[in-house]
Symmetry: C2
Subunit: 107 residues, 2 copies
């Protein structure tokens, strides 16, 4: 059995977020996302047919929602984004990588 | 949207491993497992019909496999255990909690 590590090696995400699929099955997948100061473009919303369970493991981020609310996520914080839940990344920490672990699943 | 934290509060697992389901769908689930020095009983093997993708976020552990091999897992290490893969927990760190994040999925 082969192991790998979520933190090492870590891609440089300064010039753009880096998405990597760690596990993929027909009805779910696990992704690592590394951000470094990025946020969603003005007016952009993620609106996914899949559900997403997302955990921040390092760094810090803020998600925004259509009703104007926002949730700040630090290390260890996780949140469930139901299918169709419009959301955006308002902010990620500019000083260090933010490492996300996202589990996507069919509704 | 409500967030929660994987590290806080952390249950005391000194007297036994603590399993908590963080997300459950019909064909997958996400679990937090906290160990504190436990290992599988002699001769015991996990043999699951589900696949398991498991990540160690704190502490340290060793998994053992039927062919006699073993894999040591520290913070950030993850491994995929295919459905039916016989495995056991040989050891977890006795000095601090070991926090696992496990994603189980149907084959």
């Amino acid at each position: 059995m082969n192991k790998a590590n979520l933190f090492t090696p870590l891609p440089d995400a300064f010039d753009g977020e880096v998405f990597e699929t760690l596990l993929r099955r027909s009805d779910m997948r696990v992704e690592r996302i590394v951000s470094h100061g990025q946020s969603s473009p003005d007016g952009f919303w993620y609106e996914q047919s899949e559900g997403e369970w997302v955990l921040v493991l390092a760094g810090e981020a803020e998600l925004g929602f259509e009703n104007g609310s926002a949730v700040r996520l630090g290390a260890g914080d996780y949140i469930e984004l139901p299918p169709g839940c419009k959301h955006r990344v308002n902010w990620t920490c500019p000083d260090a990588p933010t490492i996300w672990l996202a589990v996507f699943y069919l509704p």
